[in-house]
Symmetry: C2
């Protein structure tokens, strides 16, 4: 986890990376970061939490602010927002980490000024967020895009790594899946290894399903696996092949270099997105 | 196509079913229906078109009101809204047929009062619409849910019937696909034919992908294929199996009889949805 204090996008006053251990230990360390920062810079006016999921984001729910059922040991049903907000005593936003990253990219990055955008993060797991008409899409909870279903690559007989669904998107295409399938971590696979073509096949299907369900102006692909830049042209080419001229959107013309993009804010998208959400909260736009 | 004149949900003053032939012939017949209805009941105050897609729904676009690239002969790039609106001279709403059906169900049917709902129509093709925060989701166009990708049933080697994508959802699960796969129309297959289990497997994946991308309070399954009521318990059971306890939504507790539902307005959902959209337009809520 990253604790950060900011006065704006160019003014991150301090940040600290904290390993995610038990809830008690981790929350205590977050609180001590905030206490030290407050002493040095003054009390913050807003708190924004961009959390791993699944989490309850509905302020009207009795379990608002909690991590719900997660395979992460000790974290199921943990109140993450409560103790932080109690200690700081300021208005708060509780969002998913990937929605925060998306909001950062919409405010200062690759989706700047857009009304409709998608963000998929491909790391040890796969998460996703959608901006529709300028607002973060929640529906009755929040997207869990890693667990959508896609069709299998003809040359792939890996059973899948998702503990819940085996061969859902995450089970076939997350970093964990790649390292289980090939026996070495994804980042150690050569650039011309067949793994990348199979990976692109799955990620292109995820992009296609987003296009067919909630068509965005741009799809940002972030997370550790996407540090492998050779994936971008492969995903773009596969997506064009899958769409096969069916959709007339101008965003789909050409080679998709402006449609399937890396995060412009890189791995800072999450922290900067929380800053942007805090500014929006303080501007009264929630 | 159905032309209807209404004063409200209980007051459909008249309706007429018109076969979809060439644009010239079909639009001329729609216009003559409206002319006769206006003579008898007075001029209408609003026009609502719930059209097959793909169509340009963006009022700011130079091709607003047109059917865009469709495999339907003669209809590509046809201006459908223009001639109707010119003849009637009233404010108009241009929507997809499935979004109109969804809006009908939200106003008077199975999703009454809900903020987030989905509608999938499974007929000769497959279409879909989403209501998010009370508004119809467009993104940069409109959903084309029939063309999402899903994973194949282990016992299904049918190549798929979609002229664009072969084995996308529509290519594997639309009525056209069923009749090509089994050699007889879907409605002639016995209730206990293995076809229904395979069909339910694909439709449950479509529902799952909606849940993982834009989670709704309810998913309404309409269209000709869904007249086979034995499909509903099969889709519900398969969806529960696919979710496998991963999501904590209260909507997913029990046997899903209130989550995967038929349209309460039946095949009237489209016409009534257009009426509801017209009332919303006249109330100034667009």
């Amino acid at each position: 986890m990253v604790a950060a204090l900011s006065r704006g996008p160019g003014e991150i006053l301090g940040r600290e990376r904290i390993p995610t251990r038990t809830p008690e230990e981790t929350i205590a360390r977050l609180l001590s970061c905030f206490a030290r920062a407050s002493e040095e810079f003054g009390s913050p006016e807003a708190l924004v939490v961009g959390t791993f999921g699944p989490a309850d984001l509905d302020p009207a729910s009795p379990t608002y602010g909690l991590i719900t059922a997660t395979p992460k040991p000790h974290w199921s049903q943990t109140d993450l927002l409560g103790p932080l907000q109690k200690a700081l005593g300021v208005p708060a936003v509780f969002e998913t980490d990937v929605a925060a990253s998306l909001y950062g990219e919409v405010t200062w990055g690759a989706a700047q000024g857009m009304k409709h955008a998608a963000y998929l993060t491909v790391g040890t797991g796969i998460g996703g967020a959608l901006l529709i008409d300028g607002g973060i899409l929640h529906g009755i909870g929040h997207p869990e895009m890693g667990h959508m279903r896609v069709s299998r690559h003809a040359k792939d007989d890996f059973k899948g790594s998702c503990p819940f669904h085996q061969d859902c998107l995450e089970g076939l295409a997350a970093g964990t899946s790649m390292s289980q399938r090939w026996g070495i971590p994804a980042e150690e696979l050569p650039v011309d290894h067949p793994a990348w073509e199979i990976e692109a096949f799955y990620l292109a299907q995820a992009c296609l399903n987003l296009l067919m369900i909630a068509p965005p102006e741009v799809i940002i692909l972030g997370g550790g696996v996407m540090h492998q830049r050779q994936l971008f042209p492969l995903v773009r080419a596969e997506l064009l092949r899958l769409v096969d001229g069916y959709l007339a959107y101008e965003q789909l013309r050409g080679d998709l270099v402006n449609f399937i993009v890396p995060p412009a804010l890189g791995d800072d998208a999450g922290v900067l997105g929380c800053v942007a959400l805090g500014q929006r909260l303080l501007a009264g736009r929630f």
